[in-house]
């Protein structure tokens, strides 16, 4: 046991002290934060660009009606200038040319001509301006025809959006609000986290085993410790490296997020508020600000209503069991082969169920109770990802217990088989390992 800890410590320190680990661990969150900051910075900056759009209004409906919005101005021009500009837009001071045809009222179409790709936002702005104007005009006509002066208010009152509050009845008869959206996000996020972690650090275990075998140091090591101690020290040490990395990322991520937020705060929140307002305006007046706030609190409530202790517990459980199972198998592959090409061939059948389980996420989200979800979350090799994806939706207790039981069995079996392959494979050189060979190794006594 002492020696396992010694190996664990050595594995852990070796990796954590590596320059590449430190650089990667520190750099990744800054890269993300930097990218995030850059995107915000650019989008804020981009909007400050002053643009003047030349408008040729054939319909004459809009003359003088298009007002400056943000940094975009509208300048009306006669037909002769429009014809001239059409071919000479580049040399003019106009950013783009807006042509409103005569039949815009019936056809609902206009043209925006420009040299450069027009930002989506600007496109939406113009389209919204034109639509709103025509809409308004039509409304006024109806008011005039019908004589209903509070038409707007009446129409607004007809708009309805039914929020579906799903209530889930637990066995104790308690009804709780649930949302499949929140469950969906939680389910996907956890499935992916487990997938990446198992893949990345499982591969790390494998490479470390291969390196020891290639270096030939392994014979010295296993004359001091049992192969099983070596393997477990390596696997646990590597897991701790991963946890360290994740912990550092979480801390840096939080700090960076706070920093970015406070740095950009006034502009960003203004910006976001503005765009939110705009999109709401587009949807119509019915969903106004108070509704948004309500949604937010509701969202919080829904997250709170997920069975968080159960999710946390199953995350830790499936994560540990899944990682142990896959990393021990990958470690065995590392021991069985002595070159990279062979390892790739043998890694695929092992990682295939893992990749498959990621592909199961979508069918599971569509029907968390369906046969795909059921079998995916029961069969041990896909269950770490699949069952975790189901947990936020709620899983019958017996299924959860069965899945955990089978996973523990499979993990135990994998470790047993891996240990056998490991101890035989470590000292086997220059032999191409086949499946038949591996099965033979499993039968070896010690």
């Amino acid at each position: 046991m002492n020696k396992t800890i010694l190996i664990l410590k050595q594995e852990y320190l070796k990796r954590v002290k590596k320059k590449s680990f430190i650089i990667l661990t520190l750099l990744v969150p800054f890269l993300f934060a930097g990218m995030f900051a850059l995107i915000i910075f650019l989008s804020v900056k981009d909007d400050k660009q002053e643009r003047t759009i030349a408008v040729y209004d054939e319909s004459t409906l809009f003359l003088g009606e298009l007002e400056q919005e943000g940094y975009t101005r509208y300048h009306f021009i006669p037909k002769e200038e429009y014809d001239r500009l059409k071919t000479n837009l580049k040399t003019s001071s106009f950013y783009a040319l807006l042509y409103i045809p005569e039949d815009v009222y019936t056809n609902n179409a206009a043209q925006l001509i420009s040299e450069k790709q027009v930002p989506l936002e600007l496109e939406e702005q113009i389209s919204r301006k034109l639509s709103r104007f025509i809409e308004n005009d039509k409304r006024q006509k109806i008011i005039a025809e019908t004589g209903i002066s509070d038409l707007d208010d009446r129409l607004a009152a007809t708009r309805t959006s039914v929020r579906l509050n799903t209530l889930k009845v637990s066995e104790t008869g308690q009804a709780r609000k649930s949302s499949s959206e929140v469950a969906f996000i939680a389910s996907y996020a956890m499935g992916f986290i487990i997938y990446f972690f198992v893949f990345m650090y499982g591969a790390m275990v494998m490479r470390s085993v291969m390196e020891e075998k290639k270096n030939r140091i392994v014979e010295v090591i296993i004359s001091s410790v049992k192969p099983f101690q070596l393997m477990s020290g390596k696997i646990i040490g590597t897991a701790l490296v991963g946890l360290t990395q994740v912990a550092i990322w979480v801390v840096i991520g939080l700090i960076a997020l706070l920093a970015v937020q406070s740095f950009f705060s006034p502009e960003v929140s203004q910006q976001m508020g503005q765009s939110l307002m705009e999109s709401r305006q587009g949807m119509g007046p019915a969903i106004a600000q108070p509704a948004g706030e309500q949604q937010l609190t509701e969202m919080m409530e829904l997250i709170g209503n997920l069975n968080l202790p159960l999710i946390f517990f199953s995350f830790v459980f499936y994560f540990l069991a899944g990682y142990l199972m896959y990393s021990s198998l990958l470690g065995a592959v590392g021991a069985a082969v002595d070159n990279d090409e062979d390892s790739q061939q043998m890694v695929f059948p092992i990682t295939f169920p893992l990749i498959l389980s990621i592909m199961l996420l979508f069918p599971i989200a569509r029907n968390p109770e369906g046969p795909v979800a059921f079998w995916g979350s029961i069969i041990p090799f896909t269950s770490p990802v699949a069952m975790l994806a189901r947990v936020p939706y709620g899983v019958p207790v017996w299924e959860l217990l069965l899945s955990m039981f089978l996973l523990v069995l499979a993990t135990w079996g994998s470790i047993w088989a891996a240990a056998k392959i490991y101890r035989t494979g470590l000292l086997m050189y220059g032999k191409k390992v086949t499946l038949k060979e591996l099965i033979k190794w499993l039968r070896y006594k010690n």
């Binding site: 020696k3 010694l6 190996i7 050595q10 070796k14 020891e212 270096n215 030939r216 140091i217 392994v218 014979e219 010295v220 090591i221 296993i222 004359s223 001091s224 410790v225 049992k226 000292l427 033979k440 006594k445 010690n446």
Partner: protein, 309 residues
């Protein structure tokens, strides 16, 4: 006194026999040569002693009690195929390997300091292994093998990779280790070093032990009644005097002394040969030729192969 013994050890890998009923007994403070052609089963036996693999049958004893897992701390092993962690610093690695053998960090540091000073390697402590030459790496590996002061040392081809100067240094160290109380199992194909170092040998061929005994006795056993005689006189007379009981293998003549190599064709005493030759010439020197380990090895293995055919 016996320090280590293997009794009736057998090991089969799928269908190939690696060891068949092999027993060896190693005396305390002796150097035991484990010899045999490639693929004979030496490495398997060594791995069994190191508890890397378990025997199918048979038992191992260290200091007259059955060997246990914790006994690996009493064994130092230098495998034929060596290696160290390339990216790890020499000192750090040496401490780690010593700790794996059960030494505390403090003891490891103290013992390593002694060895690093002795081998003039103190300057390498903070270097990465990959920065060292191959010979230097071998020295580091040797030190990590002996650092925990094991009672039983197992060297598999220890001299490979060393230049003659360092090989000599190593030879001296091995003898010194024995002086200091260590018992050594030594496996090599270098028969010269076997003659020089080994007190006792066992020869394994095709999984079976075919010879076992003190080195001198084994060499005696394989002598083939060949004598070298230096004399003054005429070769023709000597040849005639030797008659049909003796066969002249080779003879050289020069001004100072003639020399002849003679083999008994049947059993006889040395005196009979002398008596036959004394009337014919003046004898200057008379010596029985004891075969070198090289000859012993070849002869023993060939005989054993012929027997099996």
């Amino acid at each position: 006194m016996e320090l280590f013994s293997a009794r009736n050890v057998s090991k089969v890998f799928s269908s190939t026999k690696a060891l068949t009923n092999v027993s060896i007994s190693v005396k305390e403070q002796s150097i035991f040569g484990l010899l045999g052609p490639n693929g004979a089963g030496k490495t398997t036996l060594i791995r069994i002693i190191n508890q890397i693999t378990a025997p199918d049958e048979g038992e191992l004893f260290l200091e007259n009690r059955k060997i246990t897992r914790t006994d690996v701390a009493q064994i130092g092993y230098l495998p034929e195929e060596r290696g160290l962690y390339k990216k790890m610093k020499v000192g750090e690695q040496a401490i780690y390997l010593a700790q794996l053998k059960g030494l505390s960090k403090k003891d490891a540091l103290r013992n390593l300091k002694h060895w690093f000073e002795k081998f003039e390697m103190t300057g390498w402590w903070n270097k990465k292994v990959e920065e060292l030459s191959k010979g230097m790496q071998q020295k580091v590996q040797f030190v990590t093998t002996v650092v925990h002061k094991p009672k039983l040392l197992i060297f598999d081809e220890p001299f490979s990779g060393f230049d003659p100067i360092n090989a000599n240094l190593l030879k001296r160290e091995i003898l010194q280790l024995r002086e200091d109380g260590a018992t050594i199992i030594f496996s090599t194909h270098n028969m010269g070093s076997v003659e020089e170092l080994c007190d006792h040998i066992a020869l394994i061929n095709k999984s079976v032990k075919i010879e076992d005994g003190p080195t001198d006795e084994i060499r005696q056993k394989y002598k083939s009644n060949i004598f070298e005689i230096k004399y003054k006189g005429d070769f023709g007379l000597v040849d005639k005097a030797l008659g049909s009981r003796f066969k002249v293998l080779e003879h050289t003549e020069n001004e100072k002394a003639n020399q002849v190599k003679v083999q008994y064709l049947d059993e006889g005493s040395n005196n009979e040969l002398l008596q036959a030759i004394i009337p014919a010439a003046e004898i200057l020197a008379f010596e029985e030729i004891i075969p070198g380990m090289n000859d012993v090895f070849i002869k023993a293995v060939q005989e054993s192969n012929n027997k099996n055919v």
